[in-house]
């Protein structure tokens, strides 16, 4: 460790740490508020596609808030972010592809009439 890493970054770190405390608390409040909005949103009489889009956006905002601030990516080397995003995008792509595959008409499960009757008997 060379001498240049002594006082200056330490003092900067201290100020940095103070503002981080407030950032964290404010973020937590925002996360709680957004969650509240999401819960209310599902009961509102809007179109399905609109509500789903809003939920996705709000969840994404919470998601980014947590990874950027609580998980410190905003202040870390970019490589950590890239590493995580590779996994995230691959996962999102795979989920999307699977849902597209199973939503297609060809993938609709076959249900026979007798099956329908026997299920209704259970219910």
């Amino acid at each position: 460790m060379d001498a240049s890493q002594t006082l200056a970054p330490h003092a900067a770190a201290a100020g940095h740490a103070q503002s981080k405390y407030h950032t964290f608390v404010q973020l937590a409040m925002a996360l709680a508020a957004i969650t509240g909005v999401e819960i209310v949103l599902v009961y509102l009489p809007f179109a399905r596609w609109l509500i789903i889009s809003l939920l996705v956006i709000l969840s994404a905002v919470k998601f980014v808030g947590v990874i950027a601030y609580f998980m410190h990516l905003r202040w870390d080397r970019a490589f950590c972010t890239i590493l995580f995003l590779i996994g995230l995008f691959l996962a999102l792509g795979t989920v999307g592809a699977l849902l597209a595959l199973f939503s297609s008409e060809a993938s609709r499960p076959v249900v026979s009439e007798t099956t329908v009757l026997s299920y209704s008997a259970i219910v």
Binding site: G87, T94, A97, L98, L101, S104, E105, A106
Partner: protein
């Protein structure tokens, strides 16, 4: 090694009396204990290598038994149940217990040397990954010795064949449970090992070793590690869901209760396709080291080779359903996957052109590793051609589930992966063991393997196109399949002979081979600058890298750049810091083995017991701390004098 480790290690002499006895670090350098507690990447590489070669022989015997059964029509050599177990275990063994660990052997031994590191980032975790691998190998094979017998549902275990209803031959048949548990545990080993390699390659490079100066083998190690950590979760979940179905009555693949068996296929192949790139990328890396060395030229188009490797890895996640063209996914899906599969041939082709470019105009030296490498180029290309034929979904409608597929993947897996791994063993043998393999016997083994391999698998293209299905224990004599099958079986035994010669040669050379001088191939990468075998601490002085093909530049420095690394390596006055050995990786893995065996037996109390042992091992491992000690290298004989390197 991070500052936390440096902060906490100190001379361990005085406080040693206060430590609890089970925290005394083992210090044996020879003997069984030294192997059981090793954290040295070179030893761990050897452990992976020997295990892999052992299971390669096991898988080979399984294959020969299959070929005997298929030599003639309506054969009664094997019971059909046994046949099912053999093709399941042949594939599972070759993929997970032979090729992958053999690649891991090279990742472990060679990669840290190529980047100028002392060891991997987490040495104890490295040892743990090996012992977990061994646990998985044991669980997979234990079936051979018990009434349940070995797993028999194919290496890809399609639902609903793997459900209790279809796969249990009798009450208490746990063969499928052993398969599930064994694969699950092997996945843990692979992921942990790969995480370690990623951190090592990114963070432990020698000064001046920028990413674009990395040897291609190290790049391929990195890409393979990424593929492993991102693809294994899919099969982990698939296996968890299958285990839940079998043990707890869930309905994931149970059609009668709302499940969709096709989901298994999707999840499996989301893993399974990247898996085949996991099998081939290391091989491509090895070839990318061997061709330049024996063509006496740098690799042609290094950035393109690296970028193609990354593309193959990434695109490999988007093609999985080409294994499912005949499952009725619908036109859009089928077309999309067909196009993606054709696209992925492009970066593969780019690599082949770059390898040809490397050979072009080179001064070719036809040593044994070069023979295997050239064999790779041709055979892998042929496997690629049949692969592209599969990519066209309409053509695949006829090829699917036929011997055409068997031909394709054996060309890429044997002609590709195995040839390259056999080449790598020959190539790095002088470095690892300090002895030269006889050229005559090496080349003989190559030719017999080459002839045997083609005799076995080339006829299978025709068998497939003529309609012979996979995974059938008998075929009738009037299908027109008799002669190719017979030829194929002859070929298999020739291949077996070639492999046997190869093994005997290696064993003989290990004990009695001619000693090799340093850098016998006049190679290009850093590992060749070390004594052979390398000392425990690898580099006495961490090299400073000035260019790609770092070792070549040390030997042939430009007039402008400074000479060698002696001027730049700074001597650590404390000596070289070495990681301490530990019992806890072995202990923790043993807990996993015990837990896994109980779990496969549906004995949940025992499984929890195994889990507790695992937890105890891990906790003590954490409390033990990184440890570490210093050694001082003997003399200064560790740097090869460039002027005395043997030239051919």
């Amino acid at each position: 090694m991070d500052t936390t480790a440096q902060a906490s290690f100190r001379a361990k002499t005085e406080p040693a009396q206060k430590r609890a006895w089970f925290f005394t670090r083992p210090t044996a350098k020879t003997g069984l204990v030294s192997w059981l507690t090793t954290v040295d990447h070179k030893r761990i590489g050897l452990l992976y290598g020997f295990s892999a070669l052992f299971f390669f022989l096991v898988g080979g015997v399984e294959a020969l038994l299959i070929r005997i059964q298929l030599a003639v029509p309506n054969n009664t050599f094997l019971q059909h149940q046994t046949y099912n177990e053999l093709f399941t275990m042949h594939a599972t063994t070759m993929i997970f217990l032979a090729v992958m660990p053999l690649s891991a052997a090279f990742f472990n031994y060679i990669m840290p040397l190529q980047i100028g590191a002392r060891d991997v980032a987490f040495p104890r975790l490295n040892g743990f990954a090996f012992w977990v691998f061994l646990a998985g190998a044991i669980i997979l094979n234990v079936g051979w010795f018990i009434k349940s017998s070995a797993p028999d549902s194919g290496w890809f275990g399609y639902a609903p064949l793997t459900s209790n209803a279809y796969s249990n031959q009798f009450k208490g048949d746990i063969s499928t449970d052993l398969w599930v548990m064994g694969l699950q545990i092997l996945g843990v080993s692979s992921v942990i090992g790969s995480l370690n390699f990623i951190v090592t390659i990114i963070n432990l490079r020698a000064p001046g070793m920028t990413m674009m100066r990395l040897p291609v083998f190290t790049w391929m190690t990195l890409f393979t590690a990424f593929l492993i950590i991102l693809s294994f979760p899919a099969i982990t979940i698939a296996l968890v869901e299958l285990m839940m179905d079998r043990n707890f009555g869930t309905a994931f693949f149970e059609a009668s209760n709302g499940g969709l068996p096709i989901l298994w296929q999707h999840l499996f192949w989301i893993f399974g396709h990247p898996e085949v790139y996991i099998l081939i990328l290391p091989a491509m890396g090895i070839i990318s080291e061997i061709l330049p060395t024996f063509a006496r030229k740098p690799l042609f188009g290094y950035p393109l080779v690296v970028f193609s490797g990354a593309s193959i890895g990434f695109l490999g996640f988007g093609v999985w359903s080409h294994h499912m063209f005949t499952t009725g996914m619908g036109n859009a899906a089928t077309a999309a996957f067909s196009l993606m599969t054709m696209a992925i041939a492009v970066p593969t082709g780019v690599k082949i052109f770059n390898w040809i470019g490397t050979l072009w105009g080179g001064h070719l030296q036809m040593r044994t590793p070069m023979m295997f490498a050239l064999g790779f180029l041709w055979m892998f290309m042929m496997g690629g051609f049949s692969g592209i034929m599969h990519a066209a979904a309409p053509a695949d409608a006829q090829q699917q589930d036929s011997y055409f597929v068997v031909a394709h993947f054996h060309y890429v897996l044997i002609g590709g992966s195995v040839f390259a791994l056999l080449a790598g063993i020959h190539y790095w043998f002088p470095l690892i063991f300090g002895r030269k393999v006889s050229e005559f016997w090496g080349k003989l083994s190559f030719w017999i393997v080459f002839v045997g391999f083609n005799t076995t698998f080339f006829p299978m293209h025709f068998l497939g196109l003529n309609g012979m299905p996979r995974r059938t224990a008998v075929y009738d004599g009037n299908m027109g399949w008799n002669t190719p099958n017979f030829i194929s079986t002859i070929g298999a035994f020739i291949l077996g002979l070639g492999i046997a010669i190869y093994f005997v040669v290696m064993i003989r050379t290990y004990f009695k081979g001619e000693k090799a001088g340093r850098d016998p191939w006049d190679a290009r990468t850093l590992e060749w600058g070390l004594p052979n075998p390398p000392p425990e601490y690898n580099f006495a002085v961490t090299p400073t890298v000035h260019a790609r093909d770092a070792f070549w530049h040390e030997k042939h420095p430009d007039h402008d750049s400074e000479l060698g690394n002696a001027a730049h390596g700074h001597d650590d006055a404390h000596g070289i810091h070495m990681p301490s050995q530990s019992w806890f990786p072995l202990l923790t893995a043993t807990g996993l083995l015990i837990g896994g065996l109980f779990m496969a037996n549906h004995h949940y109390v025992g499984a929890i017991g195994g889990g507790l042992l695992m937890f105890l091992g891990a906790y003590l491992w954490a409390l033990e701390g990184p440890g570490g000690y210093h050694i001082h290298p003997q003399g200064d004989t560790t740097k090869a004098d460039p002027h005395t390197t043997a030239k051919h």
